[in-house]
């Protein structure tokens, strides 16, 4: 700054006075600011209210009840799984293995190649049979053939007098390894067995006719061909994936993706299915930040608000901030369903499925991707003390009803793929207080391994 009297411009230019009411305007403005400060001080000092003392005991009681409810849910789901496993276990065991009993055999009479036997079972069942064996030796090959016919009646004590007649016919071929008495080794499998109630032909027509009582000139009817049905009775495990487009509260529709483990029991007419898995729901979200300024003096920090960076200092301070990113939620799912098979052929089956399930919120996280802010207030050292999503609260537990058409296609002998258009009805909306759509559609895909 130059000394006064040496600036030719300031010395020579005329002097101007401000208007007469300028001080009054400044004074009014100062008064207004003072009134504003007092106003905010008064608002900050509004009286404090106290809740009744009994409120804590109510909260405590509700917390205990919630804990019990959570244990109840957990126990119920475990019980449902065990029940399903128990039912499937019962259905899975082949009929012949359900009652494992020991037997004792008594030879009642034996004459030449004919034996009459009585077999007593531990469960009280009795079996009488006549066994006739016929030996022959081939001259050239030295092969000894033993033809056995075992016919009789077996009676079950529990359902007596229900009895079942049977005839088993077998052919055993043996070849001596060395000349002499050593006979061993080449044992061919049993040719066939059959119940007498079924028509039977094993190409040895003479013997069959004799046993089944057909006349020599009458050909017995052919045995019925087994019906090829898919999927046959059995138990399968697999993996599945179900994407469902669900309306999010802010920006259209996002995919609710479920990945799960599947246990399935299938009989010719029905299918029972239980699944447990994880769902993932990620939606675009805006986040709001809360902040306060320490002082009016500038500190000269730069500001970057990134993932997790919540503290910033600014030269000018911030007036408004917008943070964007995604809100990501993860759920645990459990479902139980049953189905009626409506179509089957050798490779493909279609089943109408109904069921119910529930999902529990496991975790929720904010994935901040970027931010924009305006420097509006003339305050510095701004401290961002809270960043939170503007999305409403998610319901922690949700129940749903499910229906769908499950198409299973047999790829290999034990492997099949599954495709199922599904319709779900959620009893609770995904967001609290939001009337989001209760129905959702999806396409479940899965791969199953049959045990």
């Amino acid at each position: 700054m130059k000394e006064s009297g040496k600036n030719m411009w300031s010395d020579n230019l005329p002097l101007h006075s401000p208007p007469m009411d300028s001080w009054e305007k400044i004074e009014a403005s100062l008064d207004k600011e003072l009134a504003g400060d007092r106003y905010h001080q008064q608002l900050d000092g509004l009286p404090e209210h106290k809740p009744p003392i009994s409120l804590w005991s109510l909260i405590e009681e509700q917390l205990t009840r919630r804990r019990n409810l959570r244990i109840g849910y957990f126990t119920a789901s475990i019980a449902a799984t065990l029940l399903l496993a128990f039912i499937l276990h019962g259905l899975l065991i082949p009929e012949g293995r359900k009652n494992v009993t020991s037997v004792s055999t008594v030879t009642l009479k034996m004459k030449k190649n004919v034996t009459i036997r009585k077999i007593s079972k531990d469960d009280g069942g009795i079996e009488y049979s006549i066994v006739k064996k016929n030996f022959s030796k081939h001259q050239n090959s030295q092969v000894i053939t033993v033809n056995t016919i075992n016919a009789g009646i077996t009676m079950n004590s529990e359902f007596f007098p229900t009895a079942r007649k049977f005839i088993h016919i077998s052919k055993l071929m043996m070849k001596p390894v060395t000349p002499g008495n050593a006979i061993a080794s080449t044992v061919l499998p049993v040719v066939s067995t059959a119940n007498v109630s079924q028509s039977y032909d094993n190409s040895d027509t003479l013997r069959t006719r004799l046993l089944t009582g057909y006349a020599d000139n009458t050909a017995p009817p052919s045995p019925p061909l087994p019906k090829i049905v898919y999927p046959s009775k059995g138990f399968s495990f697999g993996l599945d994936y179900l994407p469902e487009p669900i309306s999010n509260p802010e920006k259209g529709t996002s995919l609710y993706q479920s990945f799960g483990l599947l246990a399935q029991y299938q009989a010719p007419a029905i299918e029972i299915r239980s699944g447990i898995g994880i769902s993932y729901y990620s939606i675009p979200a805006d986040f709001s930040a809360k902040y306060f300024s320490f002082s009016n003096t500038a500190s000269g920090y730069d500001t970057i608000v990134n993932n997790g960076d919540t503290i910033c200092g600014l030269i000018d301070g911030i007036g408004g901030i917008n943070i964007y990113g995604r809100e990501e939620s993860r759920f645990l799912n459990y479902s139980l369903g049953a189905g009626k098979r409506i179509f089957t052929n050798k490779k493909l089956s279609a089943t109408f499925q109904v069921g119910a399930g529930f999902s529990l919120l496991l975790s929720k996280s904010n994935n901040l991707q970027g931010s924009t802010y305006d420097a509006l207030r003339n305050k510095a050292n701004t401290y961002i003390n809270n960043i939170e999503s503007n999305i409403p609260e998610i319901n922690r537990s949700r129940f749903n009803l499910l229906t769908g058409f499950d198409f299973d296609y047999l790829l290999l002998r034990k492997w099949s793929i599954s495709l199922e258009p599904t319709l779900k009805y959620y009893l609770d909306p995904i967001y609290k207080g939001r009337n989001t759509k209760s129905f959702s559609t999806g396409l479940r895909t899965g791969i199953l391994f049959k045990l």
Binding site: H40, L46, P51, L58, E60, S288, N322, I387, R396
Partner: protein, 187 residues
């Protein structure tokens, strides 16, 4: 500046211990947290709802939610701010559920309204004047002027436009100024 940061760190450590205790379902920590914040949170809920019983219900629901979601508290804000957000949201939810939130169409003719609160006026009387405002504009006034939320945040919480938030604030200020002037005249 450094002192403030150190104090914040100490507070954060105390809060961290409380949060850890609550996350473990430690009933003593839960009780301590409740008694630390219950008055401030009850006052907030009461002013928004203008009803003691409803404020009690809201406080109960909010604290249950706090204890349920405490594991999600990452410490990006102060614990008090986080709890206050839950309380405010619960109170707003209650207001909406009871269909008490209505927005009158207001032509924004008013100039910037400066409210002058005389020094002799007690805070109890000022609060009564605020509570006498209609539910909608009172809520906006409280969120903006008392709780310190911005217009954008308030608009998002209430699912209204920023313009509505601004006009309702002007309306609330206008009504409050009228009511306070009346009381000053009487005195």
């Amino acid at each position: 500046m450094q002192e403030t940061t150190q104090t914040n760190h100490r507070i954060n450590e105390l809060e961290r211990d409380l949060v850890k205790g609550c996350a473990r379902n430690d009933r003593i920590a839960q009780r301590e947290l409740y008694y630390k914040y219950c008055n401030a949170m009850f006052s907030t809920a009461y002013r928004i709802l203008n009803d003691h019983e409803h404020a009690q219900d809201t406080l109960q629901d909010a604290f249950i939610q706090v204890f349920r979601d405490i594991r999600q508290f990452r410490g990006s804000s102060t614990l008090g701010a986080w709890i206050k957000t839950i309380v405010v949201r619960s109170a707003l939810h209650k207001l909406k559920k009871e269909k008490r939130l209505g927005w009158e169409t207001i032509e924004n003719n008013h100039d910037d309204i400066t409210i002058q609160i005389p020094e002799f006026m007690s805070s109890e009387y000022l609060e009564k004047a605020i509570l006498s405002l209609p539910d909608g504009c009172r809520t906006i006034f409280l969120l903006l002027e008392v709780e310190g939320y911005s217009h954008a945040e308030t608009a998002k919480m209430l699912h209204i436009s920023i313009g509505t938030s601004k006009s309702q604030l002007f309306h609330a200020r206008y009504l409050l100024k009228q009511r306070l002037s009346l009381s000053i005249d009487k005195k």
